[in-house]
Amino acid sequence: MAEPTNANVSEEFQNDPRVPDELRNNVFITSLDKLYNWGRKRSMWPMLFGLACCAIEMIATAASRHDLARFGWELMRASPRQADLMIVSGTVTKKMIPQIVRLYNQMPEPRYVIAMGACATAGGPFKEGYNVVSGVDKFIPVDVYITGCPPRPEALLHSFIKLQEKIEKQSLRNVPWYRQGEEDVVPVPALGPDLVDMRRAQEIKEKAAQAAPALEQPTA
């Protein structure tokens, strides 16, 4: 039988007389981290969740030409409970951010976020709009940012590769989701006279007590 050489199989194991012949070349020795991450990075289930224009390119990425299935990522789940990855594909508005945060909180760990395009990254061309959040990372942590308005499908694929690289580097020993302690839940922002980030409530209260009138009179 020809000798398939495999770097993962240790020399020691190959030459150990106690190992039966049929097991040689069939056993891989690796670390648990590597095995675990190898499985995870090739079976990401993104959430079926589109916000705006970028969602169209996200759908195009999943379609036949760009073929997301090559990465093992094609199984889009509409329920956040079954999803590993949130692709924030489009403009995040103040009216939508409570739902986005809630969806993020409902996703089980380990969970990842890709901010797709200029709007999700920083507000994009609509940043100055009164109903636009200046980037989804004001509320939820983002793993990979992609530029573009909208990013091409290739750019989205690139972000997947980048995220795979990030997953490869994670170790079971120090990932947050196996630690003891409280779950990392982002407080859902509220819609009052404007969007209220509950984490900053005290600060907002203090500033509002001394703020200038929000509606300026027109200067004639």
Partner: protein, 668 residues
Amino acid sequence: MAEETTNPTPAEPATAAKAAPAAKPTSPAAAKPAAAKPAGHAAPKGPPLATLTPELAQLQQHFGESIITPAPYVGVLVNDLSKLRDVMTYVRDQLGFDMLANVTAVDYIKEGYLQVVYHPQRSKGGQPITIKVRVPRGSDPVAPTEVAVPSLTPIYAGAEFQEREIYDMYGVRFEGHPDLRRILTWEGFYGWPLRKDWHEPYYEGDTKPFDSRWPGGHHELAEERVPWGDNVNYPPGFDPLNFNSDPDAGLYDSMLSGVPNAPIGPNGHAQQAPQPQGVGAAVSVYDRNYNTLADEEELQTDQIIVNMGPQHPSTHGVLRMVVKLDGETVTDLKLALGYLHRNHEKIGERNTWLHNIPYTDRLDYICGLANELGYVITVEKMMGIKPTERAEYLRVIMAELTRIESHFWAIGFLLNDLGAFYTPALYFITERDLILDLFESVTGSRLMCNYMRFGGVSRDFTEDQLAHARELAFDRIPRKIDELEQLLTENEIIKARTIGVGYLPAERSINYSLTGPCLRAAGVPYDIRRADPYSIYDRFDFEIPVFYGADVYDRYRVRVAEMRQSLRIVQQALNQIDQTKPGDIQAGKKAYNHRVPAGEAYGRVETPKGELGFYLVSDGGQNPYRYHVRSSSFINLNALKEMTVGHKVADAVVILGSLDIVLGEVDR
């Protein structure tokens, strides 16, 4: 220009006692000559009055010259708000303007009034007329106007969402509106965002380019300039630890009352059915034939309210449908919009005229090029320029290819909604990608092409690109449309799921201002390319496909037939373009900053979704004074409730899919 000597001032408040305080300030202004127009952000002063069209003259004759006066630039002014409904009923029934294409408002802050502008049109074709009313802005900047405009919803059902939008953006109160709540923002939002004195948190100035953009070549973050460190602003004394947040206030109210069956609690769960009416009433209402049940009277049924969206796989984005269900049957439906409201119009009023072209791409992001065409045509109408011949052909080729790719997309996702998950869509996305390849090679971008310019287009087709377009138009796409029809049109499951579903007859469709394939599927041959031709569509030989079923199936068939007609147009254009001069794509000089003469215009084009209109007001400055987008997706949604009630919830998804909405255009 009008020679109206009897009414020298447009806002003479002869009979409108209520409107008098608002209109007064205009009188001295209007006396000034029109030429003395300051640049910058002043509202038009002393503008020329409109010449009355025969219809408007007839209107004036009928109601008298004190009530109907010529308005500045375009249209007439109705001076007595209490007569507005009479006027509009007359316009609809006697003059035949049976469709309210567009309603919007403009804030004339210097003059102290808000002007509501109506554009009724005839479903038989022709240009719309313009009717305006004025209301004083009111003393309190965060309260709705004291003076209310009578709602036109009893006359034109299509006014419902548009009036809500005006209320939301300008605080104009509409009397008699069935559900006057905020629509794009949320209940509790502070102020009226499109008023000229309302400033967004990142406000820097009224016009771009802002000073902060390139001082010495460095930039600063907008967050660093504002006290809150973020894109927010709160009224003085706001306490975030103790406030009542109810963005959906009033959403469920009418669904809870006015129904045959049980009241539903605030959480959407049905409460105990009330004893007096009993449950038998509900059973008989829905005719469920539970006759074999001996104890029918004791059968407890509940209705529940289900929220679909904003995150839902079948709502085509971030639409939220609130449906009330009796079993699986939809008994009531309401829409909650605004989850993608990205302030297109406010930003558009800060932008220069040229800046807005790439923004229009992002309205209906499936068919950006068609949106651009609508915008540049409207601005060209105001500037009085014409694009070159070659540019006209390039525009038509691009717009019609956009229609094809948009319909491919729409049909693919209609099939998605029907349960054929993603497989048909995959076929059509493949074809769409081929068209996008052409867009990309010509313009540099797949979706956001930023291709049209005032007076032309930005790039010419090379010979290779023309060959690519010919290959698509003469060979590939016709074959693929045949294949599509072969697979779908006679498919039994599709027919069973779609025929008779979502029926809305022609008269109702017109009354709801429905446009696009949905209207043509109801037997109304209304297509702006024929009804009010623009660009060079009058040169081409094509038909307007019409079907009469007014259901989901015929909306699908109209789209397929339209793709074939669009191909015919593209083929003719590709044959004729050889007679034009290559490279001659821009009339006049390329300009960075366009001056548009003071005035106003309503321009529209037939996009794949329906009528896309732009209502623009210029004060002669370098940016629009008012920039309003009349989007067909938004207005078509008015009719969704009537189409859906009585169907199963699974059909509600299909009916929504047949409307083919795009949220970028719905929420803007």
